[in-house]
């Protein structure tokens, strides 16, 4: 494992998250994920597939009492699950930062943008308020907010949605994090602003060299922004690969279904393609393929055990038994992985 870990910015192995309450929810089930420095990985999946829970687990934001987390998470070689106190404070904001879906909710309404950015900078860099405000101004310029000087003194409600998201990005990047988590940052924005924010994020990524995990349910957005895509379903990754691999050669029936359910080249006269059924309730720990009940290719074996994870190439994986048949060369290795 240590060899694989080397050089990775982020390493999640066998992460399992369960929420206890009136009923137990198996939100994440044995998730493996890695990210190299400077790489943009998109986690693609529908609501309830565990995208946001993964991000929250990475920041240790899940409610302690009701959630049970096992597995391992390392960022820059630091064991995230063991962090607490001062180390956790330094990790949050300095090593890992996050931007949210709804910037109107993620910015504190009673403080100016400048104050909010300066607050974070002062906390981590131990500089004076004046210097922190200078950093805030510089960040607002970097996220291309026009007339940044006066925007510094604006309250969040005085800005437009796109402007607020830029301010949120400035806030998240103010302390130069190594890893940026983006939880559907473009979902609440309209299409033209959406593309601006995506372009900005990509540019800033090149400028700062950080790794980004981008969570979205929009394939179009995923294609625009990322180097690699991991498709999540029912708390685990079902397929992972580069953008080209996922788009041109989707192997998992779920990914194929997602790509088919696309509005862009739909014919007006035809019903839109969709995946029948709905995601499974996560009341029980999955003991077979979670997608099988909705899958056109499902067979008895799918219900017998968890699907094997095939790795046809570096950074490419598919969790489906169909791979057994389609790629006989892989079969022995794949079988070994199940046992």
């Amino acid at each position: 494992m240590s060899e694989a870990t080397k050089g990775n910015l982020l390493d999640i192995s066998n992460l399992t998250v369960r929420f206890h309450g009136e009923r137990t929810v198996h939100a994440i089930n044995g998730l493996d994920l890695t990210l190299k420095p400077g790489e943009i990985l998109t986690i693609l999946g529908e609501s309830g597939s565990g995208k946001s829970v993964t991000l929250k687990a990475l920041l240790k934001l899940l409610p302690k009492k009701r959630s049970e987390i096992s597995g391992a998470m390392h960022v820059d070689g630091v064991d995230v699950l063991a962090l607490k106190g001062q180390a956790l404070s330094a990790y949050r904001g300095k090593t890992v930062s996050m931007i949210f879906q709804e910037p109107a909710l993620a910015l504190d309404p009673v403080y100016t943008i400048g104050d909010q950015i300066a607050e974070a900078v002062m906390r981590h860099e131990k500089v004076s308020r004046k210097e922190a405000l200078a950093v805030a101004l510089d960040m607002l310029k970097r996220v291309r907010i026009p007339s940044a000087e006066s925007r510094l003194k604006n309250y969040p409600h005085e800005m437009s949605g796109g402007m607020r998201q830029r301010a949120m990005i400035a806030l998240a990047l103010a302390c130069k994090p190594d890893l940026l988590l983006a939880d559907e940052p473009t979902t609440a924005l309209d299409a033209t602003v959406q593309i601006q924010v995506l372009l900005l994020l990509r540019e800033l990524q090149r400028e700062f060299g950080m790794g980004i995990i981008f969570v979205t349910h929009d394939i179009g957005v995923a294609v625009e922004i990322s180097d690699r895509i991991a498709v999540m379903y029912a708390g685990n990754v079902v397929e992972e690969g580069t953008v080209a691999e996922i788009i041109k050669d989707p192997r998992h029936p779920y990914t194929q279904g997602l790509l088919a359910a696309n509005l862009h080249d739909a014919d007006r006269s035809q019903t839109l393609a969709s995946i029948p059924g709905s995601p499974p309730p996560l009341d029980e720990k999955p003991d077979h393929c979670s997608f099988a009940p909705r899958c056109a290719h499902a067979r008895d074996r799918c219900y017998a055990a968890l699907p094997p994870v095939h790795r046809p190439g570096p950074g490419r994986r598919v969790a489906c038994i169909l791979e057994d048949a389609s790629d006989p060369a892989e079969k022995p290795g794949a079988m070994a992985e199940i046992h």
């Binding site: 996050m98 974070a120 302390c175």
Partner: protein, 307 residues
Amino acid sequence: MSDTSTTTLGRAEGRVAGHAAAEQAPARSKGYWSGVGSRLLRDPVAMLCAALLGLLLLAVIFAPYLPLADPFTGSMISRLKPLGTPGHLLGTDELGRDMLARLIYGGRLTLMLGLLPVIFAFVIGTGLGVVAGYVGGWLNTAIMRTVDVFFAFPSILLAIAISGALGAGIVNSLVSLTIVFVPPITRVAESVTASVRSLEYVDAARISGAHPLTVVRVHVLGNVMSPIFVYATSLTSVSMILAAGLSFLGLGVKPPEPEWGLMLNTLRTAIYINPVLAALPGAMIFLTSLCLNLLSDGLRSAMNIKD
């Protein structure tokens, strides 16, 4: 799909620069409180009430410097003189003491008993409520259920019971009224804190590495203060009325100390001889609490910023 996306990208790249430049320069923004202030200034009712209260407050604070008669010296020959008597603009009470002086000096105690318990309760209640709302769990249960016990009694009954147990006196009235107002303020503080706690900017503050105490002090308190404050201002008039009620019952301020509630009680006997005189302290209580209520309403709408 991938090639269509690259073309949109190229087109958008050009658009970004143009769009950003087209965004007009923002107006210089005012602070939150100056915004509240300017909205309050445009509310004539609230401003009238504020002016009346300000006048009363000034009179009460500078009472010793005003050309007033001594509120404690009576005269047996000029008892219960009607309004407009030369030398006694508002007449005299049942012991021949100048009513104007007594009303103004009485306002000192009455206003103090109206404001101080609310201020104390505001501090204590906000503390308890924010802790209960932010920490949650068993601490929330412990604090909120204890507070609920106090809701079993009507506030005036609770004030009488506590004052009765502690005995009459200004300090004891302050204590009993504070105890009466802590539960409702705690409850309001708890509910607004609970709703703020789950908002994303609190998470965002935690994510930026803020210490839990910093999160509470800066981001939670900053956002829950104004609703609690508005609620507390509406309690001021209640507090004043309760204080006057306690004095009326002999559980608050003791004679010969001038206090509106107490004056109402002692002048009660004169109601058949000079009813207008007997009604004066009551009118002061009524006017002051009305002004406080209307001002608090104005404050509420001035602070209510909807995005």
